[in-house]
Point group: C2
Chain length 223, copies 2
């Protein structure tokens, strides 16, 4: 593992944020809790469809639209727009995972340059990291909304390299999502898969360069 990449680029949704509270948001509006995972997979499915077919659309538009499709077949016993708002509000108020604050501080204290690159809005990352008290650890908060396409399309990572003023081959992408590891690996970035759950890595994606169970472990490995 490179000890000092030009930038350590973090995915945001699920890599930094803990989406577990979303299940309760679905329950709050009378929907099954397990729809939270189907919803997020649907948002990414449709976002990646647009990454393949273009043009891209904002994450929040897909998130709300996919909710509308999923919830419209249920008898919620309440206003659909209010239900969508309640769930979307929950998404904007997520906590970070338990290892994120210590991990980010250790990395920053070791002199690493930390950046986020999200398929969502930069504002969501800003608020997430501010709530967690580690906003100051991050140099840049980047969004594919300023690129030509969502990750894992090549253009998303190239945009990040341009914003960082660095070569892709000198940058490290850190994510929990194998599709993000794949896309970053394809464009020459060093890749670190955060595997908090012990799940197997899919055999159809480019494997990660390194695998660690948490951001704190990443900080130890980079030290």
């Amino acid at each position: 593992m490179s000890s000092r990449p030009s930038a350590v680029v973090f995915d945001v949704n699920e890599t930094l944020s803990d989406m577990a509270p979303m299940a309760q948001r679905f329950a709050d509006v009378g929907a099954p809790e397990h729809l939270a995972k189907l919803w997020f997979a649907t948002v990414l499915r449709d976002g990646f469809a647009l990454a393949a077919a273009r043009p891209q659309q904002p994450f929040a538009k897909l998130a709300a639209g996919a909710l509308r499709t999923l919830l419209s077949s249920l008898d919620l016993g309440r206003d659909l727009d209010a239900a969508i708002d309640h769930i979307m509000t929950g998404f904007s108020q997520l906590p970070v995972h338990a290892d994120v604050a210590d991990g980010a501080r250790s990395l920053r204290d070791a002199g690493q340059r930390l950046v986020t690159l999200s398929n969502g809005a930069s504002q969501v990352a800003d608020q997430l990291l501010t709530r967690a008290g580690v906003r100051d650890c991050f140099d840049l908060l980047l969004s594919v909304e300023d690129a030509a396409a969502w990750k894992p399309a090549r253009e998303a990572y190239e945009y990040a390299a341009g914003a960082c003023g660095a070569a892709l081959t000198d940058m490290m992408l850190v994510a929990v999502h194998p599709w993000d590891i794949h896309g970053a690996g394809r464009v020459g970035m060093e890749t670190v898969w955060i595997n908090r759950t012990g799940a197997p890595y899919p055999d159809y994606f480019t494997p990660p360069g390194h695998t660690v169970p948490s951001l704190t472990d990443l900080a130890v490995r980079l030290a």
Copy 2:
């Protein structure tokens, strides 16, 4: 609606096949029935990630790999490989929707040229249509495995146009999936959305040219 397109191109999974029996396959192996929908969304999510980042991989590889990831976190009380096999076997034995056989025969009897274009293997479509007794209604069974990328990437539809010897603007794509309607519309195909459930069409995809509730209704509209 064009009364006589050069080819009426059908999506296969969920457009022709009825995936409802997949829920029981998950129950058979000790997994929650609702994982069937999460699994299929995950397969498409990862397939579209590869359509955006390349290279593509076969549908069956993604289907089995996504199952392994989903099921590995559960205590099934049985062999994981056997569970994957049981579910994959179910996928290869699905029935068609109730409107498909009559709709396909009506379209064929009216002189339409019917073709399938699947992100899955042609063999799966062949077996599906043979079981339903309507294999003879279809002229060509196409798979993106012979193209550069899965639908909704442009190359998938261009491959179908080449195989049919037709211009994309003279062809009609019929699908239940908004992402497929979007991709086909982007390359100039006429599009027909089969909406069997009354679900709203997502506002982030190119809308369909036409919407019908079934293949039999499509046959009436084209007559």
